[in-house]
């Protein structure tokens, strides 16, 4: 579902530069993502291809959503491009809609020379990493560190919440809201424990009583416990999950990148 709104695209595959694919969710690249991608591209002498992905193309009023998205992308890409130009880095952008992993596949297989992919922190890395034929790097913002150990410019935007603070606040809010809901549910059941125990012990069609109850509890309390461990900073090993997925499908992968042709 790749739209053909490319800018400054060179014509033949052989003339195409090696690029870092920066996948942005929505119409605006976070500052951290942009800085990180440009820094890497500068160090490695690569160009930057920004792919703006509308992950919910069917959400709400499609037409106006599309227009807003296009306008947002145009503005953001212009700023991104200026930053890139200031550092002497080649910049292009494309837009896509649908799943980020599909967009990455389409772009990487589309005859470009993508050396690796840098993902917006708002996109789940697992699926993209599993399906992508080139390495995928996520940007970790949860602990305030850029991927590969770079520090995020937290102080550059005084007065504005950085990504890490925002996600931590969100986790805390989830913990509190679901925690309160779980406590309320438990209080409700255990103040009426005899009634509910008798009801579920009746058997027959009352068999649905315990089943529905535990489903409700598992949603509310499960969301709470998940957020609880995240709030404590206990989360899955990023390296292990991405790494394991990378090796799992490695044997079947084809290199979809354009190949240099030398005519001697």
């Amino acid at each position: 579902m790749l739209d053909a709104t490319r800018r400054d695209t060179p014509e033949t595959p052989t003339a195409r530069p090696h690029q870092v694919l920066v996948v942005v969710r929505g119409a605006s690249a976070g500052r951290a993502l942009g800085d990180y991608a440009l820094g890497v591209a500068e160090r490695l002498g690569l160009g930057v291809l920004a792919a703006y992905v509308d992950t919910l193309p069917r959400y709400g009023d499609r037409l106006s959503r599309r227009e807003r998205f296009a306008a947002g992308v145009a503005g953001d890409a212009a700023a991104f491009g200026e930053n890139a130009a200031a550092r002497g880095i080649g910049f292009e952008h494309v837009t896509a809609s649908g799943k980020a992993s599909e967009a990455v596949l389409a772009i990487v297989h589309g005859g470009r020379r993508i050396d690796f992919v840098v993902l917006d922190p708002a996109i789940g890395i697992e699926e993209v990493a599993r399906r992508s034929p080139v390495p995928v790097f996520g940007l970790r913002v949860a602990d305030g560190k850029g991927g590969r150990g770079r520090r995020m410019p937290q102080q550059r935007n005084p007065g504005r919440l950085t990504m890490s603070e925002r996600s931590r606040k969100r986790t805390l809010a989830r913990t509190v809201v679901f925690g309160a809901a779980a406590v309320a549910l438990y209080a409700a059941v255990f103040t009426h424990s005899d009634f509910i125990a008798d009801l579920s012990a009746k058997g027959g069609f009352y068999a649905v009583v315990p089943v529905v109850t535990v489903f409700l509890f598992s949603y509310v309390h499960g969301s709470f416990t998940g957020a609880f461990w995240s709030a404590l900073g206990i989360e899955a090993s990023k390296g292990a999950t991405a790494g394991k997925q990378a090796t799992a499908g490695a044997a079947k992968r084809k290199d979809g990148r354009a190949v240099a042709q030398v005519n001697a």
Binding site: S200, A201, A207, T213, V214, F217, S218, G222, I234, A236
Partner: protein, 347 residues
């Protein structure tokens, strides 16, 4: 009330039993998030040691197991460890095994009463845990010594996978292509064990690893899907007989949802053989615990005469050994997880 429910009484809850169930739930959840199942093998005896009748313990356990398995499998699916297709197919056939297991269980309850039923559950525990546990332990020790992260498929898996018997099924995530006919026996055995002791994973996970040829990390994650599918079906049946004590279920669930999330997170840090190691250690210790508890039921059925003093000492030892099993398992998981975390943070 329906059927066997008439013989069953629910226990009174006090602070001690609530705290106990919550903690056992947490540790059981931790273990099952990590090795795919196994909260129940600790929880069933745990509840029975509080005086809960065997069938109510199994039923309440199963009722807490499937939502826990759901939460755990969603978490591990996000880590790319779950083969949903394998889990659902196995789960559906395991359902048949569950039906058979429940029929046997209700027959025994009718014929020999609670003590007979408890004895049957204990015997099943000891037999399965000893045989499978020692096998898994041998494999885990071999892997730990050789330093490999996970074993190669056994000769049995290779031979079974080579047999082209219609219908052949391909499981992408698990990386396995095998005939349905070899999945079915594993699934049915899993279901039967699940209906008997509420923990099918002790056949399911080793079956997936050594018969079907799935890695231990995918096997333990996929087992959560199997546990969900058959747990839901099994719960409906047990609940139909009115054996679910929802209060017990909810207390355990309260603890186990904390545990299952943590256990699932833990799998992303450790080497794969650790899963086998933890599984084997816990299985063997719990087998010992249930073995020590058997004289109590044997005496009640007047099959033996150990005497009350011996029985009470043995029961207490059995309880203590079970607590040790819990703590050892949880300790290994947490220690290896936090060690790996520290190493990763240093890197």
């Amino acid at each position: 009330m329906h059927g066997a429910g008439e013989m069953i009484t629910f226990i009174d809850l006090n602070l001690y039993s609530i705290v106990f169930l919550f903690l056992v739930g947490f540790i059981g959840g931790l273990v099952s998030g990590f090795i795919g199942s196994g909260g129940a093998f600790v929880l069933t005896p745990g509840m029975m040691s509080l005086g809960v009748p065997g069938p109510v313990a199994v039923a309440s356990n199963m009722c807490h197991k499937f939502p826990k398995a759901l939460v755990g499998s969603i978490k591990r699916y996000r880590y790319g460890q779950v083969d949903v297709k394998l889990g659902v197919i196995m789960g559906l056939f395991a359902e048949i095994g569950v039906q058979v297991g429940i029929m046997v269980q209700t027959k025994i309850l009718e014929k020999w009463g609670e003590a007979g039923s408890n004895l049957y559950v204990s015997v099943a525990f000891v037999a399965v845990l000893l045989t499978v546990g020692s096998f898994v332990m041998r494999d885990a020790l071999r892997l730990a010594r050789s330093g490999e992260s996970d074993g190669k498929p056994t000769n049995l898996c290779k031979r079974l996978q080579a047999i082209e018997l219609w219908p052949m099924l391909t499981f992408k995530r698990a990386g396995v292509r095998i005939s349905l006919w070899f999945l079915v026996p594993v699934a049915i055995a899993t279901g039967m064990l699940a209906a008997t002791i509420a923990v099918g994973g002790f056949i399911g996970v080793p079956g997936l690893m050594y018969v079907i040829g799935v890695t231990s990390i995918v096997a333990s994650a996929t087992e959560l899907v199997i546990a969900f599918v058959m747990g839901l079906g099994g719960t409906l049946i047990w609940a139909y007989y009115g054996m679910v004590d929802i209060r017990l279920t909810l207390i355990i669930l309260g603890g186990s949802l904390f545990g299952v999330q943590l256990g699932a997170i833990g799998t992303t840090y450790v080497k794969e053989y650790m899963i086998k190691m933890v599984m084997a250690v816990i299985m063997l210790i719990v087998a010992l615990s249930r073995f020590l508890a058997m004289p109590k039921y044997l005496d009640k059925l007047s099959l033996t005469s150990f005497g009350d003093a011996t029985v009470s000492v043995l029961s207490q030892t059995s309880f203590a050994v079970m607590v040790v099993a819990l703590l050892v398992g949880a300790g290994i998981i947490l220690a290896s997880m936090f060690k790996a975390r520290r190493l990763e943070n240093q890197a």
